[in-house]
């Protein structure tokens, strides 16, 4: 790589994103200084809102592309997916950082965020999530260090490369754990979370969906990156990725139906009303149609792949939102809609992440060809 040289092209769109990110930073500072009550519409009825629901639960799921790709590329060594590996993992890392920021903003005693490291509430699912997410984020940062040290602090490159296998294995193990645990958080909502979503299997569903949303995200991402950064990934590679996802989705769909049937909850599916409609939307648009696309000839084309990606990702977003909001509505009642500041922070964070992605992609070897990581 060439000597250190940083470049970042400002376009009008990027300007807007920067402005939005700056606004988010300002609100974040305001929130940290004045409390949650001043900034959010959260209340005793709805203790968790947009930040947890979207920034965290959905963010982590969408960042799932990182570990599914890692599993395929680095663990299973399916080398044809190498081209997307770095980009997927970068997105993932940024996603997790974003999640960390979101979490940090959301907790009331933010100066106390480190507590669970020493005060072990190990009987809590959140404990697992907390440990896994923080460790995994750390691992991703180190993993990224492998890329970064190609350009900066080069002396670190070798040692990092040496520990990469451990990192890579942990980097799949940890997210598998906490992706499912995020669903596990809702096991305790038994009787409160609507039966369409509550299930003892919800951790499995969260894990599976976080896995198959990976390819979907990669598809979207590479397409966007392709446009913005001139990075092209062959449709065939993406298609086989999408088919892996599709297969998983078939199992997922079957499991969910069997699970509903097992819990005698199938009746809710067509019962009408908010819950049923949202469930159908989630399953039809987010799972069934994508499966059809994946195994139809359309998935050979870019438009088919992108449609698959968008639908699947939306499906997962809707699923998480359904769990956090729709499914809890009957138990918690009306009384929450995110404040403009909550929206602004969420949007701003995403913008910040996109900008960071662009910056890194333009300055590090993310999209170009590269060898698989080797232990030295």
């Amino acid at each position: 790589m060439a000597a250190q040289k940083w470049s970042f092209k400002m376009t009008p769109v990027r300007m807007v994103m920067l402005a939005l990110a700056a606004l988010a930073v300002a609100i974040a500072i305001y929130r940290l200084a004045t409390g949650l009550g001043t900034t959010t519409n959260l209340n005793d009825q709805w203790p968790w809102g947009l930040w947890i629901g979207f920034d965290v639960l959905t963010g982590v799921a969408l960042a799932g592309g990182g570990y599914s790709t890692a599993l395929l590329v680095h663990i299973m060594h399916i080398n044809k997916f190498n081209v997307i590996a770095r980009s997927a993992m970068l997105t993932s890392m940024l996603g997790y950082l974003l999640v960390m920021v979101g979490l940090f903003l959301d907790i009331g005693q933010w100066f106390n965020f480190w507590r669970p490291f020493v005060s072990w509430g190990y009987h809590s699912v959140l404990f697992e999530v907390f440990w896994c997410v923080s460790l995994y984020t750390m691992i991703q940062v180190i993993e990224f260090g492998e890329i970064a040290t190609e350009k900066v602090a080069k002396s670190w490159h070798k040692p990092i490369k040496r520990i990469m296998p451990v990192l890579l294995i942990l980097g799949v193990l940890l997210p598998t754990m906490h992706q499912s645990s995020l669903g596990g958080l809702y096991i305790i909502e038994v009787g409160k979370l609507h039966p369409l979503w509550w299930s003892p299997l919800i951790p499995l569903f969260f894990m599976m969906s976080s896995f198959f949303v990976g390819p979907a995200m990669v598809t979207i991402e590479t397409t966007l990156a392709g446009k913005a950064l001139g990075h092209h990934v062959e449709n065939s590679i993406l298609r086989s990725l999408v088919r892996i996802a599709g297969s998983l989705m078939v199992i997922y769909l079957a499991l969910r139906i069997i699970d509903l049937a097992n819990r005698s909850a199938l009746g809710y599916v067509f019962a009408g009303g908010l819950e049923s409609n949202m469930f159908l939307l989630e399953m039809v648009a987010g799972v069934i149609i994508p499966i059809i696309i994946a195994f139809s000839p359309w998935s050979a084309s870019r438009s088919g792949l992108v449609t698959f990606g968008v639908l699947t990702a939306s499906g997962v977003v809707i699923n998480r939102m359904n769990v956090v909001f729709t499914g809890m509505y009957q138990a918690l009642g009306p009384g929450y809609f995110p404040s403009w500041m909550e929206w602004a922070v969420t949007i701003g964070l995403v913008c910040g992440a996109v900008l960071a992605y662009l910056f890194i992609a333009e300055n590090f070897n993310i999209l170009g060809n590269h060898e698989e990581h080797e232990p030295a």
Binding site: A33, T34, G35, L36, G37, L42, N43, D44, Q45, P47, W48, L71, I75, M76, H77, I78, N79, K80, D106, I107, G108, Q109, W110, F111, N112, F113, R115, P116, S119, W120, G121, H123, S124, V125, L126, F127, E128, V129, F130, P165, L168, I169, V172, L173, T176, M177, G184, L185, I187, I188, E189, V190, G191, K192, P200, P203, S240, R243, I244, S247
Partner: protein
């Protein structure tokens, strides 16, 4: 196991709110200016400044309008969901029964609020560094607000003029509850808290359905932490097997891919 319980007999409550006020006074909780409530329950909900309220309801019994009241607060579950949900051990169960909050350990994640099947823990939304607020059962390891730890009754129980609230061993309270129910046809044949969520230390009996006060009646009898546990217990074996599998896979496929490098052959899907 012995554990301290309060039996709340709603047929005895006259809605005097002495308990509610005593709680505020004893615990130095600040007063607020609540919103108007048609039922004249002020404040109409517990919140960051209010551990307990006495809900006023006009309901019907045998076709007649009747007024009834229910004091609500943390039920101090035998197997508390909130404790199991807290990842920082800020909520802990004491051997005597009270579920106590250690604010210094709290991160403010509010998972306990979501976990509690009774919607008990509340948050100090108005504070810069908000804490969880919930009835501490007048048990305070730091001493300042302690009563139960000193062998006294909770402030609210002590203040009740009508014996609506009585304090004692859970077994005795349950026995008393059933004795009252079986001795008087007016009672609903149910001790709320006997089985809900695996049982609670605050037990309620009433002559009008508990739904009149919005008590959740679809609560599972299985302790909520068990649900979580049934999932979490898989964590160690999962780590072991999945971790092992990943490692195996890593080395196996790596070798295979090294061998097949030139073939650019891939594993079909």
């Amino acid at each position: 196991m012995l554990s301290k319980s309060v039996l709340v007999d709603l047929t005895r409550c006259t809605g005097c709110k002495a308990c509610q006020t005593a709680c505020k006074q004893w615990n130095d909780l600040p007063a607020t200016f609540p919103e108007f409530d048609n039922n004249l329950t002020f404040p109409s909900k517990t919140d960051g400044n209010t551990y307990t309220i006495v809900e006023h309801r006009v309901t019907e019994k045998d076709g007649q309008d009747v007024m009834r009241f229910a004091k609500t607060q943390c039920l101090h579950c035998l197997e508390p969901a909130c404790v199991s949900a807290c990842f920082a051990k800020a909520l802990q169960k004491t051997p005597e029964g009270p579920i106590v909050y250690y604010s210094n350990l709290c991160v403010g994640c509010r998972y306990c609020m979501l976990a509690c099947p009774f919607g008990v823990p509340k948050f100090e939304w108005d504070e810069v560094f908000p804490l969880i607020a919930k009835c501490q059962y007048c048990f305070d390891p730091n001493g300042k607000y302690d009563r139960v730890g000193h062998g006294q009754q909770p402030a609210c129980v002590d203040t009740c003029p009508n014996g609506t609230l009585i304090f004692g061993e859970r077994e005795d309270m349950l026995k008393e509850a059933w004795q009252r129910i079986n001795g008087d046809a007016k009672y609903v044949k149910h001790v709320y808290g006997e089985k809900e969520a695996g049982g609670t230390n605050w037990l309620y009996i009433s002559d009008v359905p508990f739904e009149a006060f919005g008590f959740r009646t679809n609560i599972t009898e299985k302790p909520l932490p068990e649900y979580t546990h049934e999932y979490l217990k898989w964590t160690p074996p999962l780590i072991a097997t999945w971790g092992g599998l990943l490692t195996l896979m890593y080395f196996y496929t790596k070798r295979r891919s090294d061998v097949a490098k030139d073939d650019s052959k891939d594993i079909g899907v």
